[in-house]
C-alpha cells in the first residue's frame, strides 16, 4: 500500500514524469491527474437498491426515515429525537434549523440534497455543494492537525490518498474531520449530534470497482450522543453529461419559514405571517407601538 507522501515527488519515476510534463522554475508544476481516481464531475445522491421510500433524503440511505435509521443514540439523545419528532408531527420544524437556511453541518451535508462537485488537486480535494454554499476543503498536503481549530459546521478535514492495490494509482481517499460547532443533525428528521461537538468523522471515498460512475463513501461517526460508532455507506452517481448543468440554490429565496425567537412561523402566499402549527400563538409584539397598528 502506498500513501501520497511516498508516491509524491520523491521517486525517480515521478521526477522524470514531472520533467516530461514541463515543470518550470516559475510555475506551480505539473499535476498528474492519472495518479488519482477520476472523482471529477457532478455527483448526485443515488438510491440504495431496495431501500424504503422516505419523505426526504436520509442519513443512512439503506434505511427508513427517523427512528427507522437505527441510530445507536444514548437515552438522552433518543429522548431529544422523540421530542423533535413529536414537534414535526404537529407541523413544527422540530429541532432542526434547516428551515432558517442554516446548514445542518457535517454529516448531514453529505446527504446531498443538491448535487456535489469534487475537484481533486494535489494539496486539497474540494467538495462543492450549492445548497448552503458548501465549500468543503479536504487537505491532502500531509499537514498535521492545527493546534487550534476555529470550530465550524463542516469541520476541519485532513485526507490521505491511498493506493490500496499497489498499482501506482491512488484509489481511496481517507478523511478525518474534527473541529465542529453545532447544532448539527444527520438529516432533516432531526437526529442530533452531541452538543459538545466532539464528533470525529472518518470517511473512505472511492469509486466502485465495477462502475466508475458510482462513488462510495463509507462514513463512521464517533460522537458522544452515540453508544457506539455509527457507520453507513452512501452512494453517489456521476452525471453522464460532460457539461452538466449546475443549478443555483439560494435557500433564502422564496423560503416560507420565519424564525422569531424559538418559534417557527410561516409566510402565507400573500406575504403575511401565519402559524406553522395548529393553535400556535402569534409573536409577542411588545417592541411595537401598538397604537400605530
Amino acid at each position: 500500500m502506498l500513501y501520497r507522501g511516498s508516491i509524491g515527488a520523491i521517486s525517480i519515476g515521478a521526477m522524470a514524469l514531472t520533467a516530461a510534463l514541463g515543470v518550470s522554475g516559475t510555475g506551480a508544476g505539473a499535476f498528474e491527474d492519472s495518479q488519482y481516481p477520476s472523482f471529477n464531475g457532478k455527483w448526485n445522491r443515488a438510491p440504495t437498491p431496495g431501500a424504503p421510500r422516505t419523505p426526504q433524503p436520509v442519513y443512512d440511505p439503506s434505511k427508513g426515515w427517523g427512528k427507522a435509521q437505527g441510530a445507536p443514540l444514548t437515552p438522552e439523545y433518543a429522548a431529544l429525537y422523540e421530542a423533535n419528532a413529536a414537534d414535526q408531527a404537529a407541523g413544527g420544524a422540530g429541532s432542526t434549523l434547516g428551515f432558517t437556511c442554516r446548514t445542518i453541518g457535517m454529516r448531514g451535508i453529505m446527504t446531498l440534497f443538491q448535487p456535489m462537485e469534487v475537484v481533486v488537486l494535489p494539496d486539497t480535494t474540494y467538495i462543492l455543494i450549492d445548497r448552503g454554499n458548501i465549500q468543503r476543503r479536504i487537505f491532502t498536503d500531509g499537514r498535521e492537525w492545527p493546534k487550534e481549530i476555529e470550530p465550524s459546521f463542516i469541520g476541519y478535514s485532513i485526507g490521505k490518498w491511498i493506493d490500496e492495490g499497489g498499482s501506482g494509482h491512488y484509489n481511496v481517499l481517507e478523511v478525518e474531520t474534527r473541529g465542529f460547532r453545532g447544532p448539527r443533525w444527520y438529516d432533516a428528521a432531526g437526529i442530533l449530534l452531541h452538543n459538545d461537538n466532539q464528533s470525529v468523522i472518518k470517511e473512505r471515498i472511492y469509486l466502485d470497482t465495477a462502475d466508475k460512475n458510482l462513488m462510495h463513501e463509507d462514513i463512521t461517526v464517533a460522537d458522544h450522543a452515540l453508544t457506539r460508532p455509527w457507520t453507513v455507506n452512501k452512494i453517489y452517481r456521476r452525471d453522464p453529461s460532460p457539461r452538466p448543468l449546475w443549478t443555483e440554490e439560494v435557500c433564502a429565496e422564496g423560503n416560507p419559514w420565519v424564525a422569531i425567537g424559538k418559534e417557527a412561523y410561516m409566510l402565507s402566499s400573500d406575504g403575511e405571517l401565519m402559524p406553522a402549527k395548529k393553535g400556535q400563538a402569534p409573536p409577542d409584539l411588545r417592541y411595537f407601538n401598538q397604537s400605530k397598528k
Binding site: N133, F139, I260
Partner: protein, 295 residues
C-alpha cells in the same frame, strides 16, 4: 498572443523539450525514462495531465484590498435608476435596508461577489476556474474549456461565466483570464449602498483577471459592467492581496446563523437579542396577524 486552445494543443513531448532542467540527467535520458514510465502510469480512463505551470499561480487565500464598494458617486445611472437609488438611500437613512436584498441572505450575485466580503480562493483546473468565497452564497464557476453560451440555462445570481486563458506575452504561460458573464437574475445591487442594476437583468459583465506585473501577490480584476440602468459601461478595478500564510485559515460564514433580519411581506423587521420581533424603522407598524387565532 496565444489563447488556451492553441497552448492546450501542444503535445507533452514538445513541452518537455522546452522546459527540462533537472540535475545531471540529460534531457534525452529523462524524456526516455518518462516515455517508459508513462504507459504504466496512465490508465485508459485517466484524465489528461494538468500542467499547472502553464497557468499563473493563483493559489492561496486572497483578501480584498480596500472597501467592498463601487464608486457610486460616479455611477453613470440613467435618471430612472438614479431616482431608485436615491429613494433607496433615503430608506436606509430611516433605518430600512433600501433595495439591498442581501440582509435576507440572498446571494449578492455578480459582480458584487467580486467585492470579496470574505477571503477568496481561486481554484484553477483545465476546464473550470472556481471562485470560492464563503460570505452568503458567493461561489462561481468560470468555464474555460471553450464552450459556447448555453441556450436554455436558468438565470442565476452568479450568472453564467465563460472564460478564456490568454498568453499575452506569447511565452507559453497564460497570464490573463478574460471572463464574460451573462444570464443573471435579480435583485442585485453593486454594494451595500444599494446601487442598482436594471430589473431586466440583461447585465453583461466582462472581467480581466491577472497578477500584478510588479507584485505576484497582488491580483487584479478589471470589471466592466454593461446594464440598461447605465448610460455607458461602468468600470472598476478590484484588487486582492495574497495572504502570506502557507496554510491560511478558511473561516466558515453562514449568513442565516445569527441573522437578526426578518422579511415579512415587503417589510423588514428585526429580531431582538431576547427573541422578540421589533421594528427596524421608527414608528414601523407591526405585521398583520390576521391568520392567528386571537385568544
Amino acid at each position: 498572443m496565444n489563447c488556451r486552445s492553441s497552448i492546450g494543443a501542444k503535445s507533452i513531448t514538445s513541452v518537455s523539450i522546452t522546459s527540462i532542467s533537472i540535475g545531471s540527467m540529460s534531457i534525452k535520458s529523462l524524456a526516455l525514462l518518462a516515455a517508459l514510465l508513462l504507459p504504466g502510469l496512465l490508465r485508459p480512463d485517466a484524465a489528461q495531465a494538468f500542467d499547472q505551470s502553464k497557468y499563473p499561480n493563483l493559489k492561496g487565500q486572497w483578501l480584498r484590498v480596500g472597501s467592498p464598494r463601487w464608486d457610486d458617486a460616479h455611477a453613470p445611472l440613467t435618471p430612472e435608476y438614479q431616482a431608485i437609488y436615491q429613494a433607496n438611500l433615503k430608506d436606509m437613512r430611516e433605518g430600512g435596508q433600501g433595495i439591498d436584498p442581501t440582509y435576507t441572505c440572498l446571494s449578492p450575485g455578480m459582480p458584487r461577489i467580486m467585492n470579496a466580503y470574505d477571503p477568496m480562493e481561486v481554484v484553477v483546473t483545465p476546464n473550470t476556474t472556481h471562485i470560492l468565497i464563503q460570505h452568503i452564497h458567493d461561489g462561481r464557476r468560470i468555464f474555460t474549456e471553450g464552450r459556447d453560451w448555453p441556450k436554455d440555462e436558468e438565470a442565476t445570481f452568479a450568472g453564467y461565466s465563460i472564460g478564456k486563458w490568454i498568453d499575452t506575452k506569447a511565452d507559453g504561460h497564460y497570464d490573463l483570464l478574460e471572463v464574460e458573464t451573462r444570464n443573471l437574475k435579480g435583485p442585485r445591487v453593486y454594494d451595500s449602498t444599494g446601487l442598482p442594476f436594471h430589473e431586466d437583468n440583461a447585465t453583461v459583465i466582462k472581467e480581466r483577471i491577472y497578477l500584478d506585473k510588479a507584485d505576484a501577490n497582488l491580483l487584479h480584476d478589471d470589471i466592466t459592467v454593461t446594464d440598461h440602468a447605465l448610460t455607458r459601461p461602468f468600470m472598476a478595478n478590484k484588487k486582492y492581496s495574497r495572504a502570506p500564510e502557507a496554510q491560511p485559515v478558511w473561516l466558515e460564514a453562514q449568513c442565516a446563523d445569527g441573522n437578526h433580519h426578518v422579511l415579512i411581506g415587503k417589510e423588514n423587521y428585526y429580531v431582538s437579542e431576547d427573541g422578540y420581533l421589533m421594528p427596524a424603522k421608527k414608528d414601523q407598524a407591526p405585521p398583520d396577524l390576521k391568520y392567528f387565532n386571537k385568544r
